[in-house]
Symmetry: C2
């Protein structure tokens, strides 16, 4: 029997207990023994539930129990999630988490601490909910140089964009509908401003390129300024506006941003609809692969945490190939002069460029952000992927 502890028994923490319970036969078959939740650290007491007797209030109780081999941190927020994770690793316990904020800010320290203490720190659930992406990126694509990562990393905004497109809803109406369905929080800032997607692309870029950049330094634009008319104009050619997180290595620089971009019909990301996520990874020998699934939700996310738990319990001392250090802001590139195809809505005709006219807008080839802003004052413009 393997004893674990859960820090924070909210949506994901409770989901972990549910998954461990629901699939206990399967898990015992794979692992060869049972997994027992020894402790739950939470402010609430869960009186009258079967968890009542294992709720503790002091992390030290967990740290002091030598039988606890693994701690699942699902508290959310930076503090004390970071301090508790650090203490657990230092106490020789592996840590798994779904907490992307902690991974983005303290991931390199926590990985280093895990290594020094011969334990493991895994965070599959921090990106893409239940979609396997972190481990495939590290293990299955080993032997590739990752060229780029391009993904729809936030299900809430993807749902909102879908509502605008399919129902002709304004941004505000689509947001209200997402909130009604429980896909968006009361304060939707993190999602609609792109901050959630930004943390995720930072984590993916760290795994792919070995550098974790401070999230504040990454160019980020959400979907709040999106005009329904652009969605409609693009619909005519089967193209879609998606909130994209992108990271690409170019020489010594990393281009990284979160922005609404245009996916043409033949781009597999265009068919990622509703609350789903799709993450396209390009490797130098592999070509492009895409990972698709529900990017959030109690059980999918808990499922990813449980896969990390089982992975560690089966190979507690495995040396993970996950490693990255902190990246310097000067290595980040905004890609303002790179030539791409852009969707540009403006009155003027783009003289001197090869373009395709849409209703009141243009797809202009071989142009850069800088050129667009210098030459015209467009009503809207988005890069075409």
């Amino acid at each position: 029997m393997k004893k674990i502890a859960i820090l924070g028994f909210g949506i994901v923490g409770g989901g972990i207990a549910e998954v461990l319970d629901q699939n206990k036969d399967q898990i015992e078959y794979q692992l060869g023994e049972k997994v027992e939740i020894g402790y739950i650290l939470d402010k609430l007491d869960f009186k009258g539930t079967k968890y009542e007797s294992i709720v503790v209030k002091d992390i030290q109780t967990i740290l002091d129990d030598p039988e606890v081999v693994l701690v699942a941190e699902t508290m959310g927020g930076l503090h004390p999630a970071y301090e508790f994770s650090l203490a657990a690793l230092q106490a020789g316990k592996s840590v798994v988490t779904s907490n992307k904020a902690v991974v983005a800010k303290y991931g390199s320290i926590l990985l280093q601490t895990a290594k020094e203490n011969n334990v493991r720190y895994l965070f599959e659930a921090s990106v893409g909910g239940g979609i396997p992406i972190i481990r495939p990126l590290c293990d299955s694509l080993a032997g590739n140089k990752i060229c780029s990562i391009t993904g729809i990393l936030n299900g809430t905004t993807n749902f909102i964009l879908n509502e605008m497109e399919n129902k002709g809803a304004s941004f505000e109406a689509a947001l209200a509908s997402a909130q009604e369905k429980g896909y968006a929080e009361k304060d939707p800032t993190d999602d609609i401003e792109g901050y959630d997607a930004k943390r995720k692309i930072c984590i993916l870029a760290a795994l792919a390129f070995g550098k974790m950049f401070p999230e504040e330094a990454v160019a980020c634009e959400g979907i709040t300024n999106l005009d329904l008319c652009d969605v409609n104009i693009l619909s005519e050619i089967g193209a879609k506006i998606k909130l994209i997180g992108h990271a690409k290595q170019v020489d010594d620089h990393i281009i990284m941003y979160v922005r609404p971009c245009v996916c043409l019909m033949d781009n597999p990301l265009a068919s990622v609809s509703g609350v789903y996520n799709g993450i396209m990874v390009e490797g130098n020998v592999l070509g492009k692969v895409m990972f698709y699934g529900k990017g959030a939700g109690r059980l999918p996310t808990a499922s990813a945490v449980v896969s990390d738990i089982l992975n560690i319990l089966m190979s507690p001392c495995k040396v993970d190939s996950i490693k990255f250090e902190e990246g310097a802001v000067k290595e980040l590139c905004q890609d303002r002069s790179g030539k791409h195809t852009f969707y540009i809505r403006m009155e003027q005709e783009p003289v001197g460029y090869s373009y395709r006219a849409l209703s009141g807008a243009y797809l202009v080839d071989q142009i850069s952000r800088n050129e667009i802003e210098e030459k015209w004052q467009p009503d809207a413009y988005y890069q075409v992927l």
Copy 2:
């Protein structure tokens, strides 16, 4: 330095050498040391190439060298690929392969032999080319009960179906075009009759459900009888015919087949086009995830083999969660009485059923294969996924 051997230096074997060479810095960074190809076993001599000096003709030379820790089997065919793999495992060397025929027929014995000798047998490249699917299925989805696997597993047939759809080509013309482009072999039987997809769904089902069924026992229908008119009728509603490999656990039985099926527009498999593969996995807590990418090709396939090589070199003694035994034919179910939606092309109108009329065909709900065959003599019928 880690010394490995390659058995069979053809398309994939040569690709492995190319990937190891092209990404040697990256690989040395991840592994902490170099990978050296110590031997190549092949009938040819590769005179005048840099490989000339390491070509051997007798497997015993490789088995006898204690420095060789891993053997990559890329010979193709069952024999002597199986015997050589077995001998290498018994000699205490881990084995990786892209050879799906060997995995489908002898996988359970080889996995058992690996376990007994404290080495590993991995075969990521046997399904989906470079797409990470085997390891995610075993590792990342651990903790899930896999409910079903549904995939476009053969790029050649998917390309042919695409040509029929986009260019209005007949099956014969589309096949000729695939052969011209190098996507289909001179003798395309394995692809167009569905045998290749059948081996792959057998392997995926073994990993998901723990039983490897003899491929001969699996219901299999290729795309040779497909009529262009069905492709065209379905096009009207944005639906597509795809060659699907499917496996699903239902009580004590496994439903498994390879057949052309209809994917409606909102099914992500519908947007898997050309030579790409898409594999949808449904887990009981995870929901649906899809893995997408190029399912074949020299470098993508070699890339998957190299990822297995690195995985083993980094953790030579890891106990893999991959395990399956041989399944009995009686556990297989043809699903002739299961109720589904079917596309049925026939003169008669489907009285007594809820249906949607297309041009000369119908989407009929809640009907089984047995009922269709008993009641009507349709010109064509395909299950809608």
